[in-house]
């Protein structure tokens, strides 16, 4: 591992050095191909993000893939109804590693305005791991770009070896998550307990 000071000194002399790790991460974070699917109104903002005004192509992510086999990133853009949740999980399972998930908008995070309804999943993170959450209803394209940059930073911080390896380099971590079944009254199971447990809420005055 090269000392940071030596690296910048060499750069001044016109010699650029890098490590395999940073080269690998540089390549990965600038070629994130999202899966082309939208669930609700957030998808409109996602489409706007890819168009000329906001131009997601600047981040190397303009290639929206119509097949999960070729996609690296799933943007869960919109309300995940309970009827749609198994399909979303199955699409995630079919994506090749490395794969990332951005939960875009209030609905994908928590159910949003439909949280107390009977037919909306209260957050896609109950079934699949989410890397970046963006709040908003819907989030503006700038927020989606911010989520992209956050994801890029996350990828840049990953290491090739050791405990901070990304998920896809760890053989013991699963690549597929159980797909919920349609039950008589709700999804079965309603959430993946290995994946998600309710965060502790401290309420002093309730």
């Amino acid at each position: 591992m090269m000392d940071a000071g030596l690296k910048s000194e060499l750069q001044k002399q016109g010699v650029f050095t890098t490590t395999l790790e940073s080269l690998y991460n540089w390549g990965r974070r600038n070629s994130i191909w999202p899966l082309q699917f939208g669930l609700a109104c957030c998808a409109i903002e996602m489409i706007a993000t890819t168009m000329a005004r906001y131009d997601l192509a600047r981040f190397g992510a303009e290639v929206f893939r119509p097949s999960p086999r070729q996609a690296d990133l799933m943007i869960v853009a919109g309300t995940v109804t309970k009827k749609m949740a198994p399909q979303v999980v199955r699409l995630y399972n079919q994506m090749a590693e490395p794969k990332y998930v951005i939960a875009m908008g209030a609905c994908a995070i928590s159910g949003g305005p439909f949280k107390q309804g009977y037919n909306v999943l209260k957050g896609i993170d109950r079934f699949i791991p989410v890397d970046v959450h963006i709040p908003g209803c819907p989030p503006r394209p700038e927020a989606l770009i911010h989520a992209f940059m956050t994801l890029q930073q996350q990828i840049a911080a990953q290491e090739l070896t050791g405990p901070r390896r990304p998920r896809h380099l760890q053989p013991e971590l699963p690549s597929e998550f159980p797909v919920p079944r349609y039950g008589d009254h709700d999804l079965v199971p309603p959430k993946n307990p290995d994946r998600w447990t309710a965060p502790a809420i401290s309420r002093s005055n309730s």
Binding site: S67, P68, R69, P86, Q87, V88, R90, L91, N93, Q94, A96, E97, P98, L160, H168, L169, Q170, P171, P174, S175, E176, V179
Partner: protein
């Protein structure tokens, strides 16, 4: 004086070298990628990931199903117009330079195709109806008691 086989092979030797180099250029990154995948990223196959259908839905039943033969007839009729266009275009381009015999023969060809279309029309193939899914629905409509 034609070149001897040895001269030919020596003339084309650089081309062969280039071909080998091109193949290496194409294959080396793929091979490196394969090597990288073997040593760094473990394969994680699974039932969902290896499924053939990739729309998120589970595939049901067999892909070898019967479908409406109307599609087949439509394809045949499309072919009539397709062949017609293929022959008419060159005919139109050199139309002024053609004699009466060529004109008549093409007219016969057109008439043959028109007869085929007429046959299909008479047979009611152009009538896109009789969808079996809706047949019961129409049956109920007609089964209703008539309004005095």
């Amino acid at each position: 004086m034609s070149p001897t086989p040895a001269e030919v092979s020596s003339n084309y030797l650089p081309v062969l070298g280039l071909a080998v180099a091109a193949a290496l250029c194409a294959c080396t990154p793929l091979w490196l990628g394969r090597l990288w995948a073997r040593y760094f990223s473990p394969g994680k196959p699974g039932a969902d990931k290896l499924a053939t259908y990739e729309c998120g839905l589970e595939s049901k039943g067999d892909a070898w199903i019967h479908f409406k033969s109307g599609y087949y007839l439509y394809a045949i009729i499309f072919l009539i117009f397709d062949v017609e266009a293929v022959f008419l275009l060159p005919f139109a381009v050199i139309f002024t330079g053609l004699g009466a015999g060529a004109f008549v023969s093409l007219l016969v060809f057109l008439l043959l195709l028109a007869a085929g279309l007429l046959w299909a029309w008479r047979k009611g193939i152009l009538n896109w109806a009789g969808d079996p899914a809706r047949a019961s629905f129409r049956g109920e409509l007609s089964a209703l008691p008539p309004l005095d």
